[in-house]
């Protein structure tokens, strides 16, 4: 399976702390994307990182990609209660970049 896997499955932190989630995948990718999902509703696109990039920033989000280890991490700095959600990584693989493979997600709980 080309499905990615997020780690940890669940994460509980206090408001103001940083949250780090990891994603691992098995075969070479064209790009990797992170999504947020609130309460089982639609997915919100957060950030895309291409296979030739190592790090990207967007506001309080920082994503890294290590293609040699086939892994990515999402860092949310200065977390807020509103960041409470499930976070998924989705991979688009080389030669088949229209089909996204999602992991099972990390459930983040930010306590006020």
């Amino acid at each position: 399976s080309q499905q990615g896997e997020e780690d940890p499955q669940a994460l509980s932190i206090q408001e103001g702390e940083n949250a780090t989630m990891n994603c691992s995948y098995k075969t070479s990718i064209n790009n990797l994307q992170w999504y947020r999902q609130n309460s089982g509703r639609g997915l919100v696109h957060l950030i895309l990182i291409r296979s030739n990039e190592r790090e990207k920033h967007s506001g309080r989000l920082r994503v890294t990609l290590d293609t040699s280890k086939k892994s990515s991490s999402l860092l949310i700095t200065a977390s807020r209660a509103a960041d409470t959600a499930s976070y998924f990584c989705a991979t688009a693989h080389t030669g088949n970049f229209n089909k996204f493979y999602f992991g099972s997600g990390t459930k983040l709980n930010v306590k006020p």
């Binding site: 790009n31 089982g40 997915l43 919100v44 970049f97 089909k99 996204f100 493979y101």
Partner: protein, 113 residues
């Protein structure tokens, strides 16, 4: 600018019945993909439509079929419903097949009893 819309929001069906879910892509988008998300799991790719044809398919049986209309909207049909088909069905749209980013709709929650 309307984003991706899906209808209905919720649906309850009985085993063996058939269901049709609908999706309207974001304005300017011409490609629609469908995903199934079981409770507590990540979305699983069902298939993708572009230029009114199914272009790619995930590991789903033939009971799952679809259609894309000239206005780029799409339908997902599921025949002979099983209890295991209960899930959130997500539609995502993009511009041309090769687009990196997909925009997701709010989903249709299907419950099979």
């Amino acid at each position: 600018d309307a984003g991706v819309t899906q209808s209905p929001t919720h649906l309850i069906k009985t085993r063996g019945q058939q269901v049709t879910l609908r999706c309207s892509p974001k304005s300017g988008h011409d490609t629609v993909s469908w995903y199934q998300q079981a409770l507590g799991q990540g979305p699983q790719f069902i298939f993708q439509y572009y230029e009114e044809e199914e272009r790619q398919r995930g590991n789903f049986p033939d009971r799952f079929s679809g259609h894309q209309f000239p206005n780029y909207s799409s339908e997902l049909n599921v025949n002979a419903l099983l209890l295991g088909d209960s899930a959130l069905y997500l539609c995502a749209s993009s511009f041309r097949q090769g687009s990196d980013e997909q925009y997701f709709g709010p989903g249709t929650r299907l419950t099979v009893t």
